[in-house]
Symmetry: C2
Subunit: 197 residues, 2 copies
């Protein structure tokens, strides 16, 4: 046993978890989402900048507006998913830095006064948080169906009209069922990914 | 219990895990890294593109070259860490797509023939994989000290001379010790991060 994590947890989070394309007919509650967030919020980001924002698409009207912006192959499964979340970066994440990093109050202006810097750092760190969030959805016994096939400008316009947030991914969330999964695609070998110098 | 993941695993991966700034004097083995990779390789990426690459800096000469490229505050702790890994994106990740996504052989050329597209998609998906990797280090009972304070061009020149890879983060890895952790910084409240529409 080289890993400290027990094998049931390994299976739940990685080995038996798959991207889901269909879900059981069972709602995903706000309580479940809160439990996911209250776990994955502890995952680290650079300077604790925590730029990821999550928009839960619950109303039929909002779901319709979202589905219209998805690529063809993502529409039906998203229309049918128990819950869909828009994952975005808050480009004004730096406004919260004085609270998030109380021991370095000057950081907000020293590093993050320029929008392009915030786009790069915020996008990168929010993507790392998407990794944590997908793990967290699985930690709740749910399955995630993350997607990047959509019209990003269209989603930004529909849901983030003030220009402050930018969509990074859309993820369907629900209890897995027999039809959820496709066969697992191959992964790269350790030797293809890891080099020693 | 809203989460399916047991509380010991929650603690190991998120609640009691912290970014580490010092480590026990104990080596991190290739076997441990292999176990981490063999777990987190299952984390999903768009089109299974799997663009993250990991360079283990083991020789004193390579460590010296790396430390010189780090910002001042990251140097001493990296020089003293049991192991340091450079996390990078392979900008030619698309070359492996025919193996990684055997049911969609045309994707490599249809979507990824242009370098700027690969930089954006590869950087985003590799960052998501960094999230999985940090979780995986913790799953091995180790602690991670991820950093973004470095001269990226300098690291790319020193370690990726052919221009095919770009550094995204550098992470110290080791067994945690009493001096590893600083007090946890605050996190954003659920209400600050999650919106319902």
């Amino acid at each position: 046993m080289t890993l400290a994590l027990d094998s049931a947890a390994q299976d739940l989070l990685f080995r038996e978890a798959h991207t889901a394309h269909a879900f059981a007919d069972e709602p995903v509650t706000d309580e479940q989402l809160r439990a996911v967030y209250d776990l994955v919020k502890y995952g680290p980001t650079a300077f604790n900048q925590s730029p990821l924002r999550i928009t839960l698409v619950r109303s039929p009207e909002a779901r319709e507006r979202l589905v219209r912006q998805l690529s063809e192959g993502n529409r039906a499964k998203t229309a049918a998913a128990p819950l869909t979340a828009i994952l975005s970066v808050d480009l004004d994440f730096h406004e919260r830095l004085p609270e998030l990093l109380p021991h370095a109050p000057g950081l907000k202006d020293r590093f993050f006064s320029e929008l392009p810097v915030r786009e790069a750092a915020g996008g990168f760190n929010a993507a790392i948080q998407i990794g944590y969030f997908i793990v967290g959805i699985r930690a709740a016994g749910l399955a995630a169906g993350p997607m990047t096939g959509f019209d990003a400008e269209g989603i930004d316009k529909e849901f983030f009209g003030d220009g402050r947030q930018k969509v990074l991914a859309v993820v369907n969330i629900g209890r897995p069922c027999e039809e959820s999964y496709r066969p697992r695609s191959p992964r790269l070998a350790y030797e293809d990914v890891v080099t020693t110098v």
